[in-house]
């Protein structure tokens, strides 16, 4: 559905995306996560042919992103937090105007979305709250049953109820539609993404299925028999190691029960206790971000 190969975008010497290679499977809900400034929006704008890549290539719906035209855009629903909507248009006119652009527009779907989102058709877009504006944009992007839904930080700043409502309506379109969503809000991603890619300073740190990701990350807490110095050389997969007396904590990014236990024993000898806890995606993200920061600082 989306494929990139060494995709690069430079702005006056600053590299916003560096050699990004991705493959978004059809029917997936693919989350592109990363801290602010990681290059998520730049990636999406490049995929949508809003900006041109400096190097590499990207394919969207089987078409080179540089050649993405009206035919492909008619099958893509795009909503971004920064999108400038025609504020003077009343919601009703806005939806009616969009309807004329899409041959596959479905009035029944729209009616359902309008009802579900409780959209005020007679009010200008500029007079709506941010949440309502996102709802209007989303309604205008879902009513033609797009094959690909691209969302650039769509839920930031929205209250939980609105967010849940929007996520639900997007998930209703899957698996017929593929969803590509960027976010730095990990809680919301965790609830519905099937795949995740982590972007940091324009570089792809990892990309994998959500289940596999949560499976391989564990927070490890070791209790030693007696206090000992933390070894200097630890495996690269052990992120953010910390010591407090006889307790040592780190995040194992390649957890495998037997192998990890052997490695601990090899490093620390006999230990009193080893506890491996599952961690939420938010903690995985924080551990990765922290580790990346440490490696940059050192």
């Amino acid at each position: 559905m989306i494929r990139t190969e060494n995709l690069t975008k430079r702005y006056r010497g600053n590299e916003a995306i560096h050699g990004l290679t991705l493959d978004v499977p059809e029917g997936s809900v693919f989350a592109l996560v990363g801290p602010n400034g990681a290059g998520k929006s730049t990636t999406i704008k490049t995929l949508m042919n809003i900006i041109q890549p400096t190097g590499g290539r990207a394919e969207v719906l089987g078409v080179d992103s540089r050649k993405l035209g009206a035919v492909e855009l008619a099958q893509i629903g795009y909503v971004s937090e920064n999108q400038v909507l025609p504020g003077w248009m009343k919601v009703g006119y806005f939806l009616d105007y969009c309807k004329q652009l899409y041959p596959a527009w479905n009035d029944a779907d729209l009616a359902e979305l309008v009802r579900g989102y409780d959209l005020p058709l007679g009010r200008p877009l500029k007079a709506l709250s941010r949440g309502m504006r996102v709802k209007a944009a989303l309604a205008a992007s879902l009513a033609y049953r797009p094959r690909l839904i691209v969302l650039d930080e769509p839920f930031s700043g929205l209250d939980v109820l609105v967010r849940e409502q929007l996520i639900e309506s997007i998930l209703d379109r899957t698996p017929e539609a593929t969803v590509f969503v960027s976010s730095h809000d990990l809680a919301e991603i965790e609830s519905f993404a099937s795949h995740v890619a982590y972007l940091n300073e324009g570089r792809l740190e990892f990309v994998e299925e959500m289940g596999a990701l949560t499976e391989r990350f564990r927070e490890i807490e070791i209790t030693l028999d007696q206090a000992a110095e933390l070894p200097r050389e630890l495996p690269a997969a052990w992120l953010n190691p910390e010591q407090a007396g006889v307790a040592i904590r780190f995040t194992d990014s390649h957890y495998d029960a037997a192998r990890s236990r052997d490695e601990i024993r090899r490093r620390f000898g006999a230990v009193r206790e080893v506890e491996a806890r599952e961690i939420p995606f938010r903690s995985i993200f924080l551990a990765l971000a922290k580790a990346a920061k440490r490696s940059t600082c050192t």
């Binding site: 855009l73 400038v84 909507l85 004329q100 652009l101």
Partner: protein, 516 residues
Amino acid sequence: MHLVLLTLLKDARRLWPAVAIALALLALLARTDRWRADPMIGATEGWLNLLLPMAWACLIALAVLEEPLTGDRHFWLTRPHRWPALLAAKVLFAVLFVHLPAMLADAYILASRGFSPIAYLPQLAEKQLLLAAAITLPAMALASLVGSFTHFMLLLFAVAAAALFVGGGFRSMPLWMRPPDHLRSDLTILVAGIAAIAIVWLQYRRRKVSVSRVAAIAAALCTGTLFGYVPETFDYRLRAALHPAPALSLRIEQRPLEPQRVVGTLRRDTVAIPVALSGVPAGALCHIGAASIGLRAPDGQSYHNIPFPAPNQYDKVLFAGRVYRFPYDSDDGSLWLTLDFPRSVYEKLKNQHARVGGQMVVTFYRKGETTWMPLNRQVFASGVGLCSAAIREDQWTAGRVKVLCESPRDLPQTTRVTLAIPQIGREWHQRLRDFGNPTTGPHWAWLSPLDRANTFFNISDPRTRLYQYYMEVPLEHVDQAKIGITPEILNGYTMVNFDFPDVPLNRYHVEPQTNR
């Protein structure tokens, strides 16, 4: 077509207040123009001639900026618009709300002034092309390069200021003395129009903002340079190449100074050198055009002329020179090369022998057919247009005979007007356009579909005048006057180079008009 109409209707729905303002300004201008029987325009029409193009430019920019071509956050970018449909919608908007109303207004003015709009359809269409090249396309191009209307307005004012700065010359010249300078302005508009088309195409096709901005800056520099810094002689050189006339030379002629013919300039010292042209075929008629003149003193100091300095700059000009025939309206008057200096400059030079050289333009013409008409009538003068003559009374004189000609085509650069009273065997001669425009503020009626020109013959009333000035028409005979309109048809141009290496300036000195 569906998308074109969709976008057009959306823009019209959004921009109807701006459209209404532009239409109101156009209606006001058309009404003012329709009643004007004079080439001079009033302040209202002058300002309307400035405001209306600005309003059109803004209207077009607003339409373009409904789907801005710069920036990466606009809603429309990710919607299935096809660029040709989007561009067509904007062009259609300009045609429907700028060009069509403008053409209808022009047709209304022509019909009101006695011309058939159908007969002059090519001229009306040509004017719309001019508007497109000068306003619509550049406005579209500018708007396609900016992200907001505020930026567009700032850019528009910058471009307008630059245009005023570059094109600010020639204001002080009597109209008929102005060089026939259409070529240079036409070329400028052509370059601007082509550059605008390229930028608009590039932006709608590819949205290559940086490349387009560089192209726009290059085009602006190119048009500015073309208009502002290409010498007037370029126009003449091209005309001379296209319409060659016999080669001529200029020589100093030994003849006495005729003080009644060559008048010293107020508060300046004038050197009037009697000159003559050699090589003019017998019976050929010619005008002397603009000249560029240089003067080099023996000490190496050089001066270059400003042929027609602006009145408020006159005292600052070190050297003004020109070649002209006296009397102006004669075919066989004597030629004078005059050099005007401030007293301080002349004092330094007066006892020296200077080198004077330069280049001047001679235009050859033939007289067209003369059309005669009585006073208070309107006739179609062949080769000119619709002409009328009537007595106009005013508070300062005993009245004047005003001759007005107008045409949807360009009036000839020079047209002779003769007032003849056969009963007393006398004739008076003038030229159309020999009265400048003294109005303050904008006074260029460039949006008018009619080229208008007039001249006046002063009338003397023996009841209030003790003596009659020879240039004035006696009131008691004016009812018997008939007016002859004779166009001069330009048919050749020659550039004449001259070089007088040893000119004793004080020998040709003319005393200033007043004591200092």
